[in-house]
């Protein structure tokens, strides 16, 4: 880990030192650039907890327990002045593992989905709805690469988690479409690991009602809700990580219009 940080620091310093020597590339040089395969990302966020999700003693009062502890989050909305919805005894950890972002072609997916229909009372309806892409006057909002006010020719941002390595073919395939290894249907990957503890929730009123110590001075320690995302195996054996495991397969295509 230390070597990685030093390497990263050297990279950063080298970027700064050569900044004055950079020259813009011309079109010919730019067109020679290849290897645009998207990016992969790991993300980890811990709130008042360690890597395993165990609460930290953030304020010397104990591990996110007891009145006045600092493991809180307050939310307020317009017009409700000095009214705060307080989430207390709040701790958790979330990890997104191997999240891929790349460019994609909507036309490929449109072709795959072209034969699908919704059947209602014995009548089949195509899935396409051009009204999704029209304004209130019925004018099409799509530009370029579209037919019939449908986005089939547009580019999109393709998002998915790294799939598993098992393909489903032959007799187990459906409608002539094999489930390729890139779909990841045959395996379980912990794409998202998520542990969340919201120990208490209540509403507090006051100019400083968001302050963690408010409940001590005002005796507002009650709660109307406790919420938790976890796994039974941790309940049985605390040595297991408390995170819930979630597997996402397939992909989400995002595009604007």
């Amino acid at each position: 880990m230390l070597r990685s940080l030093i390497f990263s620091l050297l990279i950063m310093l080298s970027c700064m030192s050569v900044a004055q020597g950079l020259q813009p590339l011309n079109d010919s040089q730019l067109s020679a650039i290849t290897g645009r395969q998207g990016i992969a990302m790991d993300f980890e966020y811990a709130m008042n907890a360690d890597y395993q999700g165990h609460p930290l003693d953030v304020d010397g009062k104990g591990k996110c327990v007891g009145a006045g502890n600092h493991c809180t989050l307050g939310i307020t909305v317009n017009k409700h002045t000095n009214m705060w919805v307080m989430m207390k005894d709040l701790f958790g950890v979330q990890r997104l593992n191997d999240f891929w972002i790349d460019a994609g072609e909507l036309s490929d997916v449109v072709t795959k989905q072209s034969g699908l229909k919704q059947v209602v009372n014995g009548t089949s309806y195509a899935l396409a709805d051009p009204a999704s892409f029209k304004d209130s006057a019925g004018n099409c909002l799509l530009t370029g690469g579209t037919t019939g006010c449908l986005p089939s020719g547009l580019p999109a941002l393709k998002m998915q988690y790294k799939p598993g390595n098992v393909a489903v073919t032959g007799a187990n395939a459906k409608n002539g479409q094999s489930l390729a290894a890139t779909d990841g249907f045959g395996t379980f990957e912990s794409d998202v690991e998520w542990f969340l503890n919201i120990g208490r929730v209540n509403v507090q009123f006051g100019t400083d009602a968001y302050n963690p110590n408010f409940e001590v001075t005002n005796s507002t320690t009650g709660s109307f809700m406790t919420y938790r995302i976890s796994d039974f195996r941790h309940d049985i054996d605390p040595s297991f990580s408390p995170v819930a495991h979630i597997d996402y397969d397939g992909r989400v295509m995002m595009f604007g219009f």
Binding site: M16, Y51, K117, S132, R251
Partner: protein, 587 residues
């Protein structure tokens, strides 16, 4: 979380809390990459002018799914923890778990495989997906027999019908600045809205649930040990929910009626009757000061498909010898038993633009409320809300589309009585499919003909022979016999739609054939038909009838394995005002 805490957490990560060297390296490079971008002089960037900016047509963002699938590990859960118990209440604490939530293929065979929650294994604390096609290919009562499909949701949020996130201004009955008490038409209000797909193929949504009840608790999370929950009352209640459907439904309760045009959301195509869900957020309008100009929301809920709720398990794997539940063991639910709601179609509008909104509020005692604001007592508002009359008065038929936007409905099943009156809700007729039986006491219901009573079978129905009342079979040609008790198959019972209860595999319970009459006892009253004669003189039916068959009180108890309780519908649902308040914070 204070700033000091954020820094100390980061330090902890840097000293080794990140799991793998690869992960640490990637994270570091991402940080470096973002820093490097800002350190390089941006000499090549040029600003867009107004003409270029105006060509950016950012009317909305669309999110389409391609074979999307969501699967939680079968022991991973969302948990609603019950409140602490005090001496002033007779309630006990109850903890609710939604476990192993999954969204997968709605195809009958799961597009490659069908599985139970209990088919997943764990190796080194990592869930392992079952191999092969699981239960796909097995004889099963319905696609609702198993909760998990191997494939993804092929047609949910298709590219040509995706989720759409957009900002739009709508003109509707509302309040204007300067007069917050007079509702008038054509008031603009801008809102951000998330529109669900209007058309979708069915997908499978399932989870298993658990309810734990305790007689006391010593505190909220984090527990030092499970004993902190108090003593558990009885065994945990474990159940399974499977839905095959989509969050769409017909615009009209009667799916054969098409939608109109010019509707407020502008998203219903005139050529088809199906609509999708909508969620909106905006600045609310209300006559009372509390709910005016705060966060307002509208949610139009839609759902169609089939739902099965079951509790029966194949074995006792989750049960300890003392009857308590083994926590963390995934139950194995049986494939047929349960309460079924088939051919469901629902629409529930929570809020109407712009005079009825979902708003949030708090109470001085710390509790929280969700308010669907009161329908204003103003003709512009309530005439728009009801939309059930015109200049000639109240209309029972031929209503405008606005009526169907503001009025919800719930239907399960489609078999409603026919009617001929001008103002009745029409139907295609009540189904005669009632139940499936372990055995039919008066024999199968059949028409007497050579096909149903061929010579080879001896033209025999039932098992009682002899007795008075013999007659020539020909006189019974074309008549129906064995029709006092009419049994259907389990598949037919489910196929008829509506509300159905199915017993666990191989089990049954008893009901009178006619619940409106007393049951009769003794041997069954059989009609016995025998086919005699030969081909030279034409086959004849020799009919022997048991004398007791003439009795009108023939009403045996039957062994029922599945029963259809019929179809049900509620239409024209409106909510004039709804307020939900929590109580726990004041305890």
């Amino acid at each position: 979380m204070g700033r000091k805490q954020a820094i100390s957490t980061l330090r902890y990560w840097q000293t080794g809390a990140i799991g793998t060297r690869t992960g640490a390296f990637v994270l570091s490079m991402l940080v470096v990459a973002s820093i490097a971008v800002f350190t390089v002089p941006a000499v090549a960037l040029t600003p867009l002018n107004d003409a270029q900016m105006s060509s950016v047509n950012g009317k909305g963002l669309a999110f389409a799914f391609d074979d999307f699938r969501f699967q939680m590990a079968p022991t991973s859960y969302f948990n609603q923890v019950g409140g602490n118990v005090t001496a002033s209440t007779s309630f006990n604490r109850g903890d609710l778990y939604w476990v192993g939530t999954t969204i997968s293929s709605g195809a009958a065979d799961g597009a490659g495989g069908l599985y139970d929650f209990s088919d997943y294994a764990y190796v080194n604390n990592q869930p392992i997906a079952p191999s092969g096609s699981g239960h796909a290919g097995q004889v099963m009562l319905s696609p609702l027999s198993y909760p998990i499909g191997k494939g993804g949701t092929q047609g949910y949020a298709a590219v040509n019908n995706p989720f759409v996130l957009r900002v739009r201004t709508y003109d509707a009955v509302g309040l204007k600045d300067g007069n917050r008490s007079d509702w008038v038409a054509n008031v603009p209000n801008t809102m951000i809205e998330l529109l669900g797909p209007t058309h979708s193929t069915n997908f499978r949504w399932a989870f298993w649930g658990q309810v734990d009840t305790f007689n006391k608790t010593t505190g909220s999370y984090p527990y030092v040990s499970n004993n902190d929950r108090g003593t558990m009352i009885g065994p945990a209640f474990q159940n399974q929910d499977i839905i095959i459907g989509s969050p769409t439904s017909c615009f009209h309760p009667d799916c054969s009626m098409p939608a109109g045009d010019g509707t407020a959301n502008g998203r219903i195509d005139t050529s088809n009757p199906i609509a999708g869900p909508v969620f909106r957020m905006y600045q609310s309008m209300a006559s009372d000061g509390t709910n005016d100009q705060t966060l307002g929301m509208i949610y139009q809920h839609r759902l169609s498909g089939d739902w099965r709720f079951s509790v029966n398990q194949k074995d006792k794997r989750t049960v300890n010898p003392d009857g308590s539940i083994k926590r963390g063991v995934v139950p194995a639910f049986s494939s047929e038993e349960g309460m079924y709601f088939m051919d469901v179609n629902t629409y529930l509008p929570l809020g109407t633009m712009h005079y009825q909104s979902l708003t949030l509020d708090g109470k001085p005692d710390g509790n929280f409320s969700l308010d669907l604001t009161r329908l204003p007592n103003d003709p512009d508002a309530y005439n728009d809300f009801y939309s059930a009359a015109d200049s000639s008065g109240y209309k029972r038929a031929g209503r405008v589309d606005r009526y169907y936007e503001t009025h919800g409905y719930v239907r399960w099943g489609n078999n409603f009585p026919t009617c001929s009156g001008p103002n009745c809700l029409s139907g295609t007729g009540v189904s005669n499919v009632r139940f499936a039986l372990a055995s039919d006491p008066d024999g199968p219901t059949l028409v007497v003909n050579s096909s149903n009573f061929p010579a080879a079978t001896g033209c025999q129905v039932g098992g009682v022979t002899g007795g008075a009342g013999s007659g020539v079979c020909d006189s019974w040609d074309g008549k129906t016999v064995g029709n006092v008790v009419v049994a259907s198959s389990k598949k037919a019972v489910l196929g008829a739609g509506g509300m159905i209860f199915v017993a666990k595999n191989g089990q049954s319970w008893q009901l009178p054939n006619n619940p409106g009459s007393a049951t009769t006892t003794g041997a069954p009253h059989m009609l016995w038909v025998e086919r005699g004669g030969d081909s030279s003189n034409g086959y004849t039916y020799q009919l022997t009838r048991d004398a007791r068959y003439n009795k009108v009180d023939y009403n045996p108890k039957v062994d029922v394995t599945a029963i259809n309780l019929g179809s049900s519908r509620v239409e024209g649902m409106t909510i004039q005002h709804l307020k939900i308040e929590t109580l726990g914070a004041a305890n």
